[in-house]
Each structure stands twice: as structure tokens, then as C-alpha cells.
Symmetry: C2
Subunit: 151 residues, 2 copies
DNA sequence: TTATATCATACAAATCCTATAGGAATTATA
DNA sequence: TATAATTCCTATAGGATTTGTATGATATAA
């Protein structure tokens, strides 16, 4: 698995929406500027996130985006799969399983790669956007409020 | 991390050399045909593996390649790093560590990505080429000898 | 001398990624 | 109603990366 710029932008943007969950919509312009993400590029990413059911939008003036579920119901794994594909170093879970079962000349190799994909999934499917918020806040120095986004 | 065709070819080729360790050199033509790897592409990959110190070559007629260390002294991690770069979903270990320590707006996110890279490294740096040989043989049906390469 | 292999570089083709552009549709507000 | 601000949608350019081919040089066993 590899996280592209596109994927990193998506994650950062969703973190911004997580910090603002329950406070209405946030506009892309604001996120784009704060995170240094090219505006028109971000627009495309958000369309994908919307089609994937992670965010919902409000059109028109004063429109914007918000999470469509609470941050604790969205895992990192779900985001990364949506934007950058399977969480495996090669192929995907079922493909790797098949290669192992075929018992070919490299089944041992694929078995280890399947272990890797399972280890990655175990972490990324467990960590929710909310967990990341908490972790980030914990990592801040006491007294700093760098994690505050748009309030 | 993502394993490219190039990386997969390298791993398969090194497995062939592992199964033949101690029996002299193996020629690329043979590996290329058996594994379905484009011959001239494989040549390039082998040069990289040689420069990385994983294999040594014998030139001229009856030449070929062999592992420069025993299969148990070469880890999957070392191979993948050499061909496809760092074992992290984003950047590399020291870069991720730095991003976490900076305590920026996304330190929590990078902390989890560092966990992922650590999980991947833990597996791939531990598994040696010999381990893969053993695993592959174990996965074969009794009586089959599909793992036998060039004997 | 010949056949066969590695070594090295250059380059072509295809694919993927990043980013930009232009405009349509929608909505709040003056 | 007019205007401004925003999401929505598609096309496409440019660049980077990956994959593979071509050509020839060099080394060595027979
Ligand atoms: S980071 Fe690629 S599968 Fe784990
Ligand atoms: S497979 Fe990409 S870092 Fe684990």
C-alpha cells in the first residue's frame, strides 16, 4: 500500500472536518489555504469522498462539507482504500489468499505478504478519525491550541 | 510501501537463487523463462541487486548469478528497500518520526502511519529468504516437488 | 575463434499522478 | 431580481514513474 498526495490531502481534509464535527459545514477554500492543498485538486478529492459516502455537502453560498458520520465511525482504512486502493503491498486480500492457496512456486512469499497486509489492516481499520484527533491533541504541548481548526 | 513488478520480479528471482544456493551459478535465461520475466528487464534488475550486494555474478560462457550471502542472512525487507524504497506508507521512518515530533496539526495521523511502517518492518525485516523457502515447501502438497527449481 | 553469458546505457511506450481550466448548477443575501 | 460564493462535473495538459526494448561492449569457457 502507498498513500499518494491525493490520499494524504484527503486524510488531512477529513481531519479538519473531524475537528469541526457538529459545528456545521466547512468550506474548501478555508481548508485549501490552511493545509496548502491546491483548491481545484481538493474539489475533485471531495467529490470522491462524497461518492464514497464519507462526507455530505451543502451547495450554494455558505455551502461546504461535513462528515456524514461521526468521526469515531470512520476508520483510516476506509479512507485509504477509497482513495488509494487496497491495504496490501501487492494486489489485495482475496488475490493474495488465492495465490497462497494455489500452492505455486511462491506461495510462501505471498503468505508473508498477506501477513503484512493483515498487520496494516489491523491498525488502519481500528484507528478512527476520532482516535487521530485525540492522539493529535495529546501530542500537543500543554497550553498550545494548534489543533484548533476553525473556531 | 508498494511492491512494483520490478520488485516482485526481484523477489521471485532471489527465491530461485535461494533454492539453488550452494549449487553454483544460475543463468538469467533459465529464470526468465521459468518465471515469465522479460529477459532484458531481468538483466537490469540483477545489476541493481548486484550493486546492492545481494548477489554476485560470474561472467562469460557458463556464467550466471548466485546469492552473495546465505539465504538466511538476507531479509525480505532488505530486498524491498533496495528495489522499491522505504517500507512506509508515506515517506520513511526518520521523516515520519520528525513529523510526529514537530507536533503539528497532523502529528496524530503521522504517529499512526509510523505504527504501520513499524508493523511492516517488523515482519519483513524478520523474514529471511530461507524462511520463505521453508514456508513454501511446507505449503506444497506432500509428494509434489513444485518447489524444486533447477536440479 | 566462437558461443554464451553478464554489463551498461539509451530510449521508447505505457501508465499513473498531479494539477489546472472552464463552466454549470445551487443557494444565501442585498 | 441580481450578485456573489460555493459545490459539482468533465476535460485535459504536463510531469513523473514504471515497464520494457534495443544495441552493443566486455568477459570467459570450450
Ligand atoms: S503500507 Fe503498504 S501494505 Fe502496509
Ligand atoms: S505495505 Fe506499505 S508500508 Fe506496509
Amino acid at each position: 500500500m502507498k498513500i499518494s498526495h491525493r490520499g494524504e490531502y484527503a486524510l488531512k481534509c477529513l481531519m479538519a472536518l473531524s475537528f469541526n464535527y457538529g459545528k456545521g459545514v466547512v468550506q474548501l477554500r478555508s481548508i485549501s489555504e490552511k493545509e496548502g492543498i491546491p483548491y481545484k485538486f481538493l474539489e475533485q478529492i471531495m467529490i470522491a469522498l462524497k461518492q464514497g459516502g464519507l462526507v455530505k455537502s451543502q451547495k450554494g453560498k455558505l455551502g461546504g462539507y461535513q462528515l456524514s458520520r461521526s468521526p469515531e465511525e470512520i476508520s483510516l482504512g476506509e479512507v485509504i482504500r477509497l482513495i488509494d486502493g487496497p491495504l496490501a503491498p501487492l494486489g489485495n486480500e482475496s488475490e493474495l489468499k488465492k495465490l497462497v492457496k494455489e500452492r505455486g512456486r511462491h506461495s510462501g512469499l505471498y503468505a508473508v505478504l498477506l501477513d503484512v497486509r493483515n498487520a496494516c489492516s489491523a491498525i488502519l481499520d481500528k484507528q478512527s478519525l476520532r482516535d487521530i484527533c485525540v492522539k493529535t491533541i495529546e501530542l500537543q504541548e500543554k497550553g498550545t491550541e494548534a489543533y484548533m481548526y476553525f473556531i
